[in-house]
Amino acid sequence: MTETSSQTAGPYLHIGLLPNASGLPMYGGADVGSVIAGPEVEGERIAVRGRVLDGEGQPAADAMVEAWQADPQGRFPPDAARGFHGFGRSGCDADGVWTFQTVRPGPVGGASFLTLMIFARGIGLGLHTRMYWPGSSDAVLAAAGDRAGTLVAEARDGGLWFDIRLQGEGETVFLDV
């Protein structure tokens, strides 16, 4: 059998995937992906933010970013720490800024990173990338060569900042995994 074709999530993805955050009260008020690591998870708490920008540097305010990550010991669910879900969803504000409140993942394959998927109008197949902690090195960063810097976050305001540039100068490296 062949994989079903992807289609864009479109500009109104919020009502389906982040209904409560978009003003549509559903499911008892809780959106899927609202808690990556519950309060019982011990680890380095951190806010991770960034923008999604188009080829003209304009914010893609309609985009949604999903995060998937390991727990502080580098384990993924279902083998992760109690209360650790590992999955997050964030819409973007008018400036294209998304936000996750999480814990620093332990190293997987030698580095700490978030897997990110970006869905939006004009994106036919969700874009897959990684956000690495500063100072990381691994096989993926090595393969990215002189564009590896587009996969590494920067420290800012006590958290991390990671812009996702869909196109053009500084275009983020996207992955085919």
Partner: protein
């Protein structure tokens, strides 16, 4: 559990000029190919207890009173490329109402909102990989793409398998809709057979007499090969 490589010939290319929104959002570089690892071969775990009693019933899950429109059941099978059922997988859907209007702050189409229709639902696949929703048939609607463009009636689907690398978001269309052939978003898929698989079929056997017609829409996620030699079927 290595993921089989994604067959990109059945997916829209990043740049599809007839779909104008891709112009500034399509990466210019080809994606960097790499083998899957733990980050792609694991995925979020959702329990059946996530799903509330009416979550999969879009006819009733907003206000409690029934929504306006043609009542339909949308159901099907979720499998992987090896043909194995994908049980316990989260399926989320969203759609316009019967008039073609979304309950979204940015949708200003002339068609009115239905006070009894929210437009989203979710369910989990059962032990055999089956899912089902009750909803109303969404309306077609015009959209800004530089000309007189109308989306075919469609339901958005978001799917999780058991690995984050299987993540898939797509749209389901309806058998017999002439807008399928005219839509630049649908036609960005470069394979006619693949487009045909996005079209749900009227399923008289699944119909609930005197209540709702049924449409069948089966979905396939990327395969997880048990060994590197067990590829796609």
């Amino acid at each position: 559990m290595t993921l089989s490589p994604r067959d990109r010939t059945v997916h829209p290319p990043a740049l599809a000029p007839a779909y104008r929104s891709t112009a500034l959002r399509a990466p210019r570089h080809a994606p960097l190919s790499m083998p899957s690892g733990p980050a792609e071969e694991t995925g979020p775990v959702f329990g059946h207890d996530l799903i509330g009693g009416t979550d999969a019933d879009l006819v009733h899950n907003f206000s409690g009173a029934p929504a306006l429109g043609e009542r339909i059941i949308v159901h099907g099978h979720l499998r992987d490329e090896a043909g194995r059922p994908v049980p316990d997988a989260l399926v989320e859907v969203w759609q316009a109402n019967a008039g073609g209007r979304y309950r979204h702050a940015k949708d200003g189409y002339l068609a009115p909102l239905d006070p009894n229709f929210g437009g989203c639902g979710r369910c989990m696949t059962d032990a055999e990989g089956r899912y089902a929703f009750r909803t109303i048939r969404p309306g077609a609607y015009p959209w800004p793409n530089g000309g007189n463009d109308w989306r075919p009636a469609h339901i958005h689907f978001s799917l999780f398998g058991h690995a984050f690398g299987q993540r898939l978001v797509t749209q389901m269309y309806f058998e017999g809709d002439p807008h399928v052939a005219l839509c630049p978003i649908v036609q960005s898929v470069p394979d006619a057979a693949a487009i045909d698989r996005l079209v749900a079929r009227l399923d008289m056997e699944g119909t609930v007499p005197f209540d709702a017609r049924a449409y069948r829409f089966d979905l396939v996620l990327r395969g997880r090969a048990a060994t590197p030699f067990e590829g796609r079927a």
